[in-house]
Amino acid sequence: MTPLIEIRKSVLVSIWFMFLTFPIMVIRVNTVENVVEWRWHNMIAIGAGSFLLSFVWRYMIRRKEQGIRRQREGAGPRLSIFQRIGQERRIFLPALTLLAVAVVVFPFLVSMYQVNIMTTAFMYIMLGLGLNIVVGVAGLLDLGYVAFYAVGAYTYALLNHHFGLNFWVCLPIGAALGAGFGILLGFPVLRLRGDYLAIVTLGFGEIIRLVLENWNEFSFGPSGISNIPRPGLFGVAFSLEAHARYIYFIVVALAVFTIFMVNRLQNSRIGRAWLALREDEIACQAMGVDKTRTKLTAFALGATWAGLAGVIFAAKTTFINPASFTIWESINILCIVVLGGMGSITGVVLGALVLVLLPEYLRAFAEYRILTFGVVLVLMMVFRPGGIVSNVRRTYQFEGPDSGDK
């Protein structure tokens, strides 16, 4: 296809758009003076805009098709820059060290506001990685994930309120309760798949929120719980700023812990079974994988991280109420997973950073947030269906017929 044909097609598209939008964008009836205003400049803007968009669109589609063709011809999939960094040990280690140093010095260079945003971003990394186990790896579309987040948050808030338990005690309890609720939800939905599963989990998420909202004696209803203490350190008194940094480091440590754990889980016998379950449930069972057990571990191990993140959330904001745990939160986390790349840890980490930091720094466009979200997601589905970093399978090397090794 020559560029000329492309340009002609784009011109046609722009003419079509000008025609379509003519009645609403060009003609305006001014009812005060009873005249019709012709806003021709709008038409020019639409024509130019749609021409440009259409041209870029075509260009991108063509590039994508070339990529697919190259792959067919045996060149192998092109690795993204992150995957290449991950494979080159010489680049990987220094890059990792640099990143670690950056993460450590970050809170001392910037304002408290920035530190708090970063803390949130790292919390979402944990949430994203947890949901990634359920949705990305095991292929179980869970829209009620926020419920486990709520379980974690209320665990800390209530245990502290009633029994004065501190943050460090509540952290494992929150994780365990998250896992418990994961299993509790897992049982009734064992037989469900796809859309049905999504709807039921969505319902489950709402149920938890509604219970928290209405059961005043238990959860203090919509007014929530305030004065939740921040995490302590052997009774050291912190300034507000130091506390923000302290929480930041706790979250960073937990996020690293999450990455480590999730990575190990994915590269194991269980991780393989999750993947197989996602690919084909029936074949998976027929090959001797216990479906019930595999699904329940996915739900439980996914929810654990939400429980942990919930405890931190309560400690960080010192105030929680049910309004923090709406369906939007679930969707947000799901977007992190889908945008970042289903099943890919690097992808989810990047996805979390992008989806938390961008809206924060683009406050000016806050009104268009959902719109941008939608557009970006659609574009991603068309051009990079695997997410920012798509998952690569591990490869094994075998030498010779008898001395195989990996």
Binding site: S268, D280, A286, G288
Partner: protein
């Protein structure tokens, strides 16, 4: 054994017996109920009536109706699917390693702490899977995604995956479907070789009569869920009932 779907009796009092080391074929026109019979044996469906008994090599006997599919596989029955059901986005080796799954033991703790025995178990599983791929002739594809394999290789990968579960009875649902004559011939050799080296009995559904006649020790023929004939290939070939079922009334002289 029988199996009903609502009012439809898909398998009607079929009884079938496979001896150790035998290759038995199950044939019949489309919709005869062959795949349904497989699904009943492997636990995907629970048969409406009847019993399925197995006699594993270790001795003893066990009734397996209504067991979950993964239990049946653990007991030593493994199958392939008529419409290929590979794990598309996983590599060829991982596909076979899933077959090993039920013979491995490590759990969550093993995955997280990676104690030596888990590491060696994983290594062993990868090795064993690779050996199986070598036997089937797929070792050049180890790290390719299953979906990128040519069709014939996908069918063979299904067999490899089933073998990885260490079955004593291998159930193959139309393994030659869609293969060219050359591939079919290779498959023929492969199945015979498997019987010798792996000590498995084989129950085979197949429409390719040439393959069936050359491979099988005995043949069962079904039509409308019922068994209409059984016996050695030579007898089945000339059985008027079978010819009628396949070709219709008017061809029978």
């Amino acid at each position: 054994m029988s199996m009903d779907f609502g009012g439809l009796r898909a398998v009607d009092r079929l009884d079938l017996m496979i001896h150790r080391g035998e290759i038995v074929a199950l044939i019949g026109p489309n919709g005869a109920g062959k795949t349904t019979f497989f699904n009943c044996i492997t636990g995907l469906y629970t048969p409406t009536e009847g019993d399925i008994h197995i006699h594993p090599p270790g001795g003893g006997s066990k009734r397996i109706n209504g067991l979950k599919p993964n239990r049946v596989t653990e007991l030593g029955l493994a199958r392939t699917f008529q419409n290929i059901r590979l794990f598309q986005q996983m590599t060829v080796l991982e596909n076979v390693m899933i077959g090993r799954h039920c013979r491995l033991r490590s759990g969550i703790a093993g995955a997280v702490f990676r104690p030596p025995h888990t590491v060696s178990e994983e290594r062993q599983a990868a090795m064993d899977s690779y050996r199986i791929l070598e036997k089937i002739g797929l070792e050049s594809f180890v790290n390719d995604l299953a979906k990128n394999l040519p069709y014939g290789a996908q069918r063979r990968l299904e067999i490899a995956r089933a073998l990885a579960t260490e079955p004593f009875l291998l159930l193959l649902d139309e393994p030659a479907a869609g293969m060219n004559p050359h591939e079919t011939h290779e498959l023929d050799q492969l199945i015979l070789r498997l019987r010798e080296t792996e000590n498995v009995s084989i129950l085979l559904i197949e429409h390719d009569m040439k393959l069936v006649m050359s491979l099988s020790d005995r043949i069962y023929v079904m039509d409308y869920g019922r068994k209409i004939a059984e016996g050695a290939p030579g007898r089945i070939k000339n059985d008027p009932v079978v010819i009628k079922a396949y070709l219709g009334e008017e061809y029978v002289a």
